[in-house]
């Protein structure tokens, strides 16, 4: 029976080792304090712009903890807790940070609310007329001065290669092309890149991407280059103007950055809204979910794009133009493309 004893001993040894090293969650409890600490920790360990925003506007996440911890009480209700936690994450000044509960979803809106809208769909309809075409999420028309106009409202739905071929083929008779991404709040990066790939004939470095490798504020991977590869389909060979406003955000920000690297492209309008952090999701013990920026993206010179991209030509909508039903940006783009 010695074998039996040895076997039992080995088994006990291994089970002891395994049981002693249970890998479990670190957080426990569901009180307002627990939820506050959990949310603060998620941002502290996983949010990717803490150091950058400290440099930009003095964000101190430890100071935020101290300031908001004073507002947390054991007896506070869900509504009050949501309000305090929403205010806390809005300190990040990031449209990609949203706390979601059954009560509401928090949103930092100053990235567009504090600036002119610079877009009116009723004025846009004066240019689109009644015979515009919608193809795979792209709305397009040939304007009266033989300039092609594509309005891309969102990158949330995929754009088909066949649709893009058809659209660019139809617009090929035009002297130039306007790609309007105003009010485009983003969507899938792959969709944005698919559209941008129609405007380059060669592989172009458009920037870098990094991600966190640990909970420390400086734990980042080596930035990896991001290239725009030319599409195998029909590619546009004439001048292009991309129209932007502050609501051109997230994947649209990435699209504008990619287009900005191309020689025949001019970015026109207002600064984009930014949102260069690829958002991840997590949650706190009471079940509220939190979305936050996790992977920063940079331009080819390693500049941060989180607070937007400056246009090549800065133009705001003029009120007198708007009163006359004219879109100042579309008019300026046509002039530039006709030169």
């Amino acid at each position: 029976m010695n074998d039996m004893k040895q076997f039992s001993f080995i088994l006990l040894l291994f089970f002891g080792a395994v049981l002693a090293s249970c890998i479990r969650e670190d957080i426990s409890g569901n009180s307002p304090e627990d939820n506050f600490e959990s949310l603060w920790k998620i941002i502290d360990e996983q949010y990717c712009f803490l150091d950058y925003k400290n440099q930009e506007y003095g964000l101190d996440w430890n100071e935020v903890h101290a300031r908001y911890a004073r507002r947390i009480t054991p007896s506070m209700g869900s509504e009050a807790l949501f309000e305090v936690l929403s205010e806390m994450v809005n300190e990040l000044k990031d449209g990609h940070v949203n706390l979601s509960s059954s009560l509401a979803t928090s949103q930092y809106r100053a990235w567009f609310d504090a600036y002119p809208h610079n877009f009116s769909d009723s004025i846009q309809s004066n240019y689109l007329g009644k015979d515009y075409i919608i193809s795979s999420g792209l709305t397009y028309q040939i304007l009266e001065n033989n300039i092609g106009y594509i309005y891309c409202e969102s990158f949330s739905s995929g754009i088909g290669d066949g649709n893009l071929d058809q659209t660019l083929n139809k617009l090929s008779v035009c002297d130039g092309l306007i790609v309007d991404v105003r009010d485009n709040g983003g969507g899938a990066l792959t969709t944005a890149q698919k559209l941008a790939a129609r405007f380059t004939n060669e592989k172009v470095l458009t920037g870098y991407i990094s991600h966190k490798t640990g909970p420390g504020h400086n734990d980042f991977s080596t930035p990896q280059p991001v290239y725009l590869e030319p599409s195998d389909g029909i590619r546009w060979q004439k001048k292009v103007v991309v129209l932007t406003n502050r609501r051109s955000y997230s994947a649209t920000n990435d699209f504008v950055n990619a287009m900005k690297q191309l020689p025949l492209v001019t970015i026109m309008g207002d600064k984009t809204g930014g949102g260069s952090g690829l958002p991840f999701s997590s949650e706190i013990p009471n079940g509220w979910s939190i979305r936050f920026s996790a992977s920063p993206m940079f331009d080819p010179e390693m500049n941060q794009l989180e607070f937007g991209i400056d246009p090549d030509v800065k133009i705001d909508m003029k009120s007198e133009d708007m009163q006359n039903g004219k879109d100042t940006m579309i008019e300026a783009a046509c002039l530039l493309l006709k030169k």
């Binding site: 029976m1 074998d3 039996m4 076997f7 080995i10 088994l11 291994f14 089970f15 080792a17 395994v18 090293s21 249970c22 890998i23 479990r24 969650e25 670190d26 957080i27 569901n30 959990s38 998620i42 996983q46 990717c48 059954s102 990066l189 792959t190 991407i209 991600h211 966190k212 490798t213 640990g214 909970p215 734990d219 991977s221 990896q224 991001v226 690829l278 958002p279 991840f280 999701s281 997590s282 949650e283 013990p285 009471n286 079940g287 509220w288 979910s289 979305r291 996790a294 992977s295």
Partner: protein, 280 residues
Amino acid sequence: MFFFIAIFCCLWASHASAQEDSLPATRYVMRSTMVGVGKANVFDTYLSPLEYEGTDFRLLHESMRMTRIMGGRVSVQNLVQADFAYAENPARTGEMYAGLINWSCALHYQFHFGERLKLLFGPMLDLNGGFVYNVRNSNNPAQGKAYASVGASGMLVYKFKIARYPMTVRYQASLPLLGAMFSPEYGESYYEIFSLGNDGKHVSFTSLHNNPSFRQMLTVDFPVRKVVMRVGYVCDIQQAKVNRLKSHLYSHDFMIGFVKNFCLLKGKRKVSMPDNITPY
């Protein structure tokens, strides 16, 4: 090295038995299939810092037979398990689905203690592939699971009778000891890995310090008319801590199924069974 030795032994075990012409011990196979249901606890900090709990479903197929290794005292066991779990977070506002396919091949040296008790112990090759999917996450909606290891497996088999009613009880435990595991880096998206093709530390060496997992199984076989039934309990503890990401998939399942014992006929001359007995 241990990994390659284990693979070689598994292949050798299959090959050795395939060369036989007659019907030696290596031709007798025990196969069983069981299905089960139980509790699951799913945790993956890539997706959420919270533990999700719910229902677990498991399908388990097992085959065992003797080999010619070490004078015919070594048996080979193949276990294929498909595990699926549906779980919710403590507040029941989030859902996760987890799936894991596991194949393990163990070579057991058999120690006999009298006619009733057997102790089996030996190396094991363990392969796993699966996913954990969080329904409401944005760019981190799912985590892929792929890991392989070599480890140790032990089994106790005890045959007994209750009022002339034959029964077999078996307890088995297996532990991965050395291996490799795929994992994205701490805050890395699958977009970076697959769409951009970025490199990184995606494969980590594992051992007990960062992959303290084990599986154990208790089964009881008993005949019901002409069928040998098997009921059992499976405790599957899969844990990992790689790239500063913590995860576990705990499942406890009560299983039921049946056992088949039969002889394998293989080779050119066994394309059919002997003429005097074959129905084909």
